[in-house]
Subunit: 124 residues, 3 copies
Amino acid sequence: MEEAKKKFLIVVTHGPEDIDRTYAPLFMASIAASMELDTSVFYMIKGPLLLSKSWQEEARKKGDNPFIRFFDLAKENGVKMYVCVQSLKDMCHMREDEIVDGVEIVGGSTLIDLTMEAERSLFF
Amino acid sequence: MEEAKKKFLIVVTHGPEDIDRTYAPLFMASIAASMELDTSVFYMIKGPLLLSKSWQEEARKKGDNPFIRFFDLAKENGVKMYVCVQSLKDMCHMREDEIVDGVEIVGGSTLIDLTMEAERSLFF
Amino acid sequence: MEEAKKKFLIVVTHGPEDIDRTYAPLFMASIAASMELDTSVFYMIKGPLLLSKSWQEEARKKGDNPFIRFFDLAKENGVKMYVCVQSLKDMCHMREDEIVDGVEIVGGSTLIDLTMEAERSLFF
């Protein structure tokens, strides 16, 4: 039986208003996943805006968006994605169906669970 | 004899200049406390401005301030509050007697102690 | 044989654009070092700009820069300094030879290693 991988969490609180603070975390997520860590990213505060279908579509059309590049890389590397439903609705004024596929919509208490389960967490 | 609760720390570095970054942490503090974690919030950098008697009074008069709502909820849920005296004085230019009741005024070294004692810490 | 010191990590993501968010972390680094913790600071995102030879030179000429004061204090207290090469080049558009002496230039994966080795990490 294989030994369970250690868990690693990265919290993203910024969104398109400060794109420089969004792609380094996703780059770190890919690195962590490549180091055999079971890696998750949790989006909250302004982070959910990065998961908007329409925002991602537009960013992909314009091209050369570093967040999109590292988001796709993280997905390819098996990084799990979670978004805080309270931030999504109350802070970003989005609906759940506006979120791209492959992201689990969870309550704030999941952040506590994820940090308790993770070996280490990074905050951005 | 009851088992000691695990400790959980939340660090708040933003203040009224970016109110969106201040109430999610307080909401998380209430959630952590409701999950039977011995929860503390540590205010530093711009965070002490949120603890100003006059700022809170004005925010309460205006009403519907999300920080105030989650601050009160956290207090009701038994969350402990600490403020960094160096941030308070040197960065926020406040006096100790301008801080609302129920907040312990401590030196920066307390942050190290709190993080060492806490099972996990969140940074905002 | 002496017991190995516990490791402590502080991550700096802001630079001269928000100097208030840069010196509290360095102050905390000195406190941690004085508490017998083997303390490191990791600069990423906008943090590498604080390590620019020309920026530090100018800041020293102008005088009374709190980041410089706490940077020097941290160095005196034996705090180790690391800078993320990807942030340095791709985000701050700097060359490696523009960084002040005494800072180790490392890849992003070093951040994962440092957080895994550290007893605790602070994020600013």
